[in-house]
Symmetry: C2
């Protein structure tokens, strides 16, 4: 079974976070996760108009940037936003994203 690597939040840098969030697809992912109120979603459950491989890629970028946390559960990869940690490290960031427009 695959295990995912997540950076320690202390090592997460703002430019990398910005970079990860600069893609509309990825922003959409994070927003949908935020809307699900803490319940983890399978990659599959997130509505997204790209091929499977691309989808996987975007999740990987968000993961490497420290924004999401992923855990295998059977064949599904359940993922959620690292809400508390991010709020502490970058106060206001998630609120900014939630305020969709």
């Amino acid at each position: 079974m695959k295990t995912y690597v997540h950076p320690v939040m202390r090592d997460v840098e703002l430019p990398a976070v910005m970079q990860a969030l600069s893609d509309p697809c990825r922003l959409a992912i994070v927003r949908q996760l935020l809307e699900s109120k803490g319940r983890a979603l399978a990659c599959n459950e997130v509505e997204l108009d790209v091929a499977k491989a691309t989808r996987s890629h975007h999740f990987e970028v968000l993961r490497a940037a420290g924004i999401i946390f992923t855990e295998m559960d059977g064949t599904k990869c359940m993922t959620s936003v690292r809400r508390a940690e991010l709020d502490k490290r970058f106060p206001g960031l998630l609120k900014l994203l939630s305020a969709a427009k």
Copy 2:
């Protein structure tokens, strides 16, 4: 004399803003401008470790993203952060950037 084009804030999109701020050089520019407390700085006055052409490029990107406002004054290009407008469009964004780490 050169005149600069600035997007209307209504048309400024979050992914583009994030993209602009995902480069360490540009983040440094914005932070220095924010520190100057509203006083406009010449491009030249901003401390930055890149060639002249690159510097010019980064200012252009920030301008196109709606983050800074530039105005020619003699040979200098005085620039400042579009603070009030940005605070209104993306509340919390600038605060996030100021909280340097």
